[in-house]
């Protein structure tokens, strides 16, 4: 992707003679993207928050003060400990309190973040691969395949993607044997969210491919006898990478929210592998009895995650879309 950066961001005019070849780092430092990034405090904050959350998810086993899913280490006496206070019976300290089972809320959030991000990112990668492939086929090969793919996309677009994901989840659940359902739940979730979001990728790639196809470099590549797939993947694809990146970021926010929603509704990540949505669903049961922290902290984490990805997506769209400038 780094090779294609100059396409989205033509190097800013530099006065100090552009003769000397520049290192990749310097080119990056001179680019529009970096310039716009430096000047947008909101984007800097969003990026920082996003990478902190990613780090938290990756390092969850190291960072969590407790092991929330090891039944042996749980002590029921620790249940409902308030945040930033020691438990009255055991004297154990929990920064963000504990849930009804005595699980540390901070640790469950870190592990939940892992599941949420894993499902979100994998689902987007899946949607992206599928969407790009179908978009390239529709745009470059065309013909009846184009018609078929785009009609399917149209029909799917009639329905909101979250509903498509729910339906696919239901179908997926019906197709796998009951004994494996909990184990496979995460994968069913990834496939259903992925399948519900490929359309945006396919439509964008198809549109961009239709434009690129007519350009001279593609005709030249065709003339020297390159195969269709080689032209599509090695020549057209890098040139439509900008919009794909924007859509991927926006889709990631959507996928994370879709995952949280499905898990919240009880049709996503199982209780044995709770994501942020599952945690919020668990926390909801305690708002009537006053244990607000079990709900609040996972919700804030999800909010921070969704908001930071959304803001990043907005910024990327503004930078990579020359039409808006």
């Amino acid at each position: 992707m780094a090779d294609t950066q100059p396409k989205g961001a033509a190097p800013r005019p530099v006065f100090s003679g552009a003769v000397s070849p520049k290192s990749r780092l310097q080119r990056w430092a001179d680019s529009d993207i970096w310039y716009s990034f430096k000047r947008s405090p909101v984007t800097i904050v969003a990026t920082t928050v996003f990478f902190m959350l990613i780090a938290g998810a990756l390092l969850a086993p190291l960072l969590s003060p407790y092991t929330p899913f090891d039944p042996g280490s749980l002590n029921l006496m620790n249940g409902f400990t308030e945040p930033m206070a020691a438990n009255a019976f055991t004297g154990d300290y929990f920064l963000l309190g504990t849930d009804d089972q005595g699980r540390d809320v901070l640790s469950t959030i870190l592990f939940g973040l892992r599941i949420s991000l894993f499902v979100g990112i994998t689902a987007v990668l899946f949607a992206m691969t599928l969407g790009i492939t179908l978009g390239l086929i529709a745009g470059y090969i065309g013909g009846w395949l184009d018609g078929l793919i785009m009609r399917i996309a149209d029909i799917q677009l009639t329905f909101p993607s979250i509903m498509v994901a729910m339906l696919l989840y239901g179908i997926g659940k019906g197709l796998i044997p009951p004994a494996l359902r909990d184990e496979m739940a995460i994968w069913v979730l990834i496939v259903s969210i992925g399948l519900s979001e490929w359309v945006q990728f396919a439509r964008t790639v198809r549109g961009a491919t239709l434009v690129e196809r007519e350009k001279e470099y593609v005709q030249a590549a065709h003339l020297i006898g390159l195969s269709k797939w080689s032209i599509m993947l090695r020549h057209i694809l890098p040139n439509v990478a900008g919009p794909i990146l924007v859509i991927a970021t926006i889709s990631l926010a959507l996928a994370i929210i879709a995952e949280a929603t499905l898990s919240f509704l009880g049709v996503g990540a199982p209780k044995t592998q709770p994501s942020l949505g599952t945690l919020i669903n668990v926390g909801r049961q305690f708002i009537l009895s006053g244990e607000w922290w079990i709900l609040l902290f996972p919700s804030l984490t999800l909010l921070a995650l969704a908001l930071s990805v959304n803001l990043l997506g907005d910024w990327l769209r503004d930078v990579l879309n020359p039409k808006l400038r």
Partner: protein, 328 residues
């Protein structure tokens, strides 16, 4: 004009047929209906006989036609979970969802347009800025979180409104509606706000950006030059042109209100079709899922069709284009 309408209806029917096929395929290929109908001691001969009687040996297209014919009669089979005919179950749940969707759709359109116009006219005002910033957070918030926090604020802390259920209902022409009773109306406020909030922010942002665009255009400048007052310009001239795209998007959003009702209904335990669907997904209740898909598909296709036709009626330029293009 006529050609366009006919073509558009034809497209809608095709989409519906495709959705119907997915729904049929779920019904047909997931789970074995014979397994459910035959007892333990059934012989292979019984099985073959039942297969023949139910028409399961017919070619797939024939079976599909039969499925559609049954669907037209409202016959979607029997729910695996509650053991009642699916058509009946859905019909009994439908009024709850429709009244909820109607109220939140109304809230979204009404406040969306008002806030949109306000933030466009008083672009740099403090209140307008505040509304815009809040709406950004509103767009990023998942629906279910909004619902949970409304419950926390208004039901748990303030105790003003009930946190779940539908309250009492009153019967009108045999349809049970909650909005007609005080307790029902109170139960409806939080779900309706939750459901409408996201659509409201969308409509508001759309109205605002369209209005800003229109206010920059030449004919508005000429209207000012003619000495027309602000009120006449904003509401007499600008608003009309703003509403053309707004109607399209709003129409499409009405469809997604039905879809997002699934989430809201689960949060508030509102006994509508959305809650029914989620329970069906949880229990892998295929007949209910496939019937729901068909129902929602029909609603969506109808809404899209109406929006398209309405768009055509509102914007005379389109009619001229179509007429010139020979109904292409």
């Amino acid at each position: 004009m006529l050609a366009f309408i006919i073509r558009r209806i034809g497209q809608a029917l095709l989409v519906l047929l495709a959705v119907g096929f997915v729904s049929f395929a779920m019904f047909k290929f997931m789970g074995d209906p014979l397994e459910n109908l035959l007892g333990q001691e059934a012989t292979l001969a019984d099985r073959a006989e039942l297969e023949e009687r139910l028409g399961l040996n017919d070619p797939i297209p024939v079976q599909y036609m039969q499925y559609l014919a049954r669907a037209m009669d409202g016959n979607f089979g029997v729910s695996y979970r509650v053991g009642l005919p699916v058509g009946e179950v859905i019909l009994s749940r439908l009024p709850a969802t429709l009244e909820l969707a109607a109220l939140s759709g109304f809230l979204a359109i009404f406040f969306g347009i008002i806030f949109g116009i306000y933030t466009a006219i008083r672009r740099d005002g403090f209140i307008a800025q505040t509304i815009m910033t809040t709406s950004l957070i509103g767009v990023s918030l998942p629906t279910f979180l909004i619902g949970v926090f409304l419950i926390w604020a208004f039901a748990v802390n303030l105790g003003w409104l009930p946190s779940f259920g539908r309250g009492q209902t009153a019967s009108v022409f045999g349809v049970e509606l909650a909005i007609l009773t005080w307790s029902g109306f109170k139960s409806m406020i939080l779900p309706a706000v939750t459901l409408g909030l996201y659509q409201m922010t969308l409509i508001m942002r759309l109205v605002r950006s369209e209005m800003l665009e229109v206010l920059r255009s030449d004919y508005i400048r000429f209207a000012r030059a003619r000495g027309l007052g602000d009120r006449a310009i904003h509401f007499g001239h600008a608003l009309k042109n703003t509403l053309v795209p707004v109607i399209t998007i709003t129409g499409l959003q009405l469809g997604s209100i039905i879809a997002f009702a699934i989430i809201t209904e689960t949060v508030f335990q509102w006994p509508g079709v959305g809650l029914l669907f989620i329970n069906a997904v949880n229990f892998v209740d295929i007949p209910v899922m496939s019937a729901y898909l068909l129902l929602v598909g029909a609603i969506f296709v109808t809404i899209n069709l109406i929006v398209d036709l309405l768009y055509f009626v509102i914007d005379p330029r389109l009619q001229a284009d179509r007429a010139g293009g020979g109904g292409h």
